[in-house]
Amino acid sequence: MNPQIFEKLKILAEAAKYDISCSSSGASRPNTEKGIGSAAGWGICHSFTEDGRCVSLLKIMLTNHCIYDCGYCVNRRSNDIPRTTFSVSELVELTIEFYRRNYIEGLFLSSGVVRNADYTMERMVRVAKDLRTIHRYNGYIHLKSIPGVSRELVAEAGLYADRLSCNIELPSEQSLRLIAPDKDYQSVFRPMHYIQQGFLESKEEKKKFRHASHFAPAGQSTQMIIGVSPDDDNRILHLAYAMYQRPAMKRVYYSGYIHINTYDSRLPALSAPPLVRENRLYQADWLMRFYHFKVDEIVNETHPNLELEMDPKLSWALRNPHCFPVDVNTADYEMILRIPGVGVKSAQLIIASRKFGRLTSENLRKMGVVMKRAKYFITCHELPAYTIHEVSPERLRQLLTLSAKKKKDDKQLIIHF
């Protein structure tokens, strides 16, 4: 084996590490005719790095040469870093060998832009094509689509890839113009639109012909960098919500900005990535996707940012005390989902088991409801408890944020007045 591969892998993995997406879900493909690999439908994470992020796919760049000079990016033209390029066959071999050892679920290929978008994309598609056609590889492939790529190449990429993605990176066109002047929203949204069209067309075809070819069965995803531009959560979440309304969009990722290019004065000098804000955005994202929340309920003009001390669901509940307490024995599923401390699973358990008898708080606790929070928002088969109306929302806000804080340093003496 070529000893250079070692060095290349190191450089190009480091170049790719700031891309958050690593999921391998959404496509289910059984192995065909004794080829190699399958896609499981749900994702499988094969390892976890020291930062706690999952490693499901071999996330790597084809090259880290780039003609662009985007402020937030580690591979920007003006950075003085070692640059290298994988050949198609090297990358294919690496993927297959890792895959056979059960290290990875598949390949996530991205690339810096060399010459122009189409030239770069063509080589990325070649990797996917070689894997699928020559090696009869059925594992997962996620291809990044390069901003400004042509419709034909997106169409070809969709034939071989499970998921295509195109990162917005910055949540408003203004910030994009300031920080990444080489790009514009058109060049990002157009490929997104091509992907969506291809996805819908192939769905239609599938209805008519059983053997119609797949087009990116796991849809598309995108990513926004958080904290690099002054855009508020209202803007970010409204943009995410609008994108989830599109049929092929499966995931929006939020990536806390890491201050790498310290010399660039256009960028905010953050000492640590905004991890808490990132986490709150993901929680809000989950509320939109799994908890039937509308984006306006989470953030709006009067409440433009998520609270950092508490999760957005609790925050919503405290702003809307008139919706509580909820009787778990009679309320409908949507309302039970909105109780702080109740998740999707416990909500389903509640709905299923209350047919057999009235539920008590002990039942709820055993089902996994976090009673510490939920007890202020529910009534169950017991005497009316101490709910949000008796405590008052302001006091409850103190109580619940205090108990979360207290956990952090229990060696510190605190005197309550």
Partner: protein
């Protein structure tokens, strides 16, 4: 206390359930023959019989769904202590109740079993996640594993589908049996002395494929390079990748 001794198979357990109804008695414990018994116990030896097990199975089919019966089997694979007693109580409740009890999670046994079911399936997922194959000199892919529950049989279909064009062997070092796929079908194998280092799970150097070491190093290097140091969070890593799996992981 009355002890039922059975052979440790699921069929044997169902036969024991049959005997409970046939003999109109409730055993204090249902245990496998290897269990050490206290003095002064009444013992009934369950003789596994296919037709008896079949009758219990059919009785259950009338009362609960196919997926609930499958759940009972998965829970049985957990091999946790006295799982037989919980399963027996569940079956008794299922057979007496006029409606299916399978979604009544306010019932303790139903909830307990549903939790065990999740735990066992999680362990299966862990196994699928953290098995690491090493290529041997004769082109076979070998992996050692040590799951808490007996989940290797549940993984056979997955691996057979995914790695259909390579010979592989996954060996459970705790229960001393393995699954071997010879390009046509998967079968159970047992070794007196597995040819591996049980502490690290690695095969001896002479038996490794020439490139094996290189790919292991590449994988380790890759994981180092992909880490973002400013987001370091070891606790989160341990939470997702429990430490008990680390001994057979190449990267650890």
């Amino acid at each position: 206390m009355l002890y039922y001794l059975y052979d440790g198979t699921f069929e044997g357990f169902l036969t024991a359930v049959f005997d409970v109804y046939y003999r109109k008695e409730i055993p204090g414990r249902i245990v496998t023959a290897e269990t050490a018994l206290p003095l002064f116990t009444d013992i009934h030896n369950v003789i596994t019989a296919k037709d008896k097990a079949e009758r219990v199975f059919q009785g259950l089919q009338k009362k609960i769904s196919q997926s609930a019966i499958h759940m009972l089997y998965i829970c049985y694979l957990s091999e946790i202590q006295d799982i037989e007693r919980i399963l027996l109580r569940y079956i008794q409740k299922a057979l007496t109740s006029p409606v299916s009890i399978e979604i009544n999670f306010a019932d303790d046994d139903v909830l307990t079993l549903s939790k065990i079911y999740k735990k066992v399936l999680n362990e299966r997922t862990h196994l699928v996640q953290f098995v690491r194959f090493q290529k041997t000199a004769d082109g076979m892919y070998f992996a050692l594993t040590d799951p808490v529950y007996n989940v290797l049989p549940l993984c056979a279909d997955f691996f057979q589908d995914r790695y259909a064009d390579q010979q592989w062997l996954i060996y459970d070092s705790r229960r001393n049996f393995g699954l071997y796929y010879d390009l046509t079908e998967t079968e159970i194998v047992r070794f007196e002395h597995p040819p591996v280092d049980l502490k690290t799970g690695s095969i001896v150097r002479e038996q490794q494929d020439d490139d094996e070491k290189a790919f292991q190093d590449l994988w380790k290097e890759y994981l180092q390079s992909i880490t973002i140091q400013s987001r370091k969070n070891l606790r989160l890593q341990r939470q997702f990748m429990p430490q008990r799996f680390w001994k057979y992981l190449i990267e650890k």
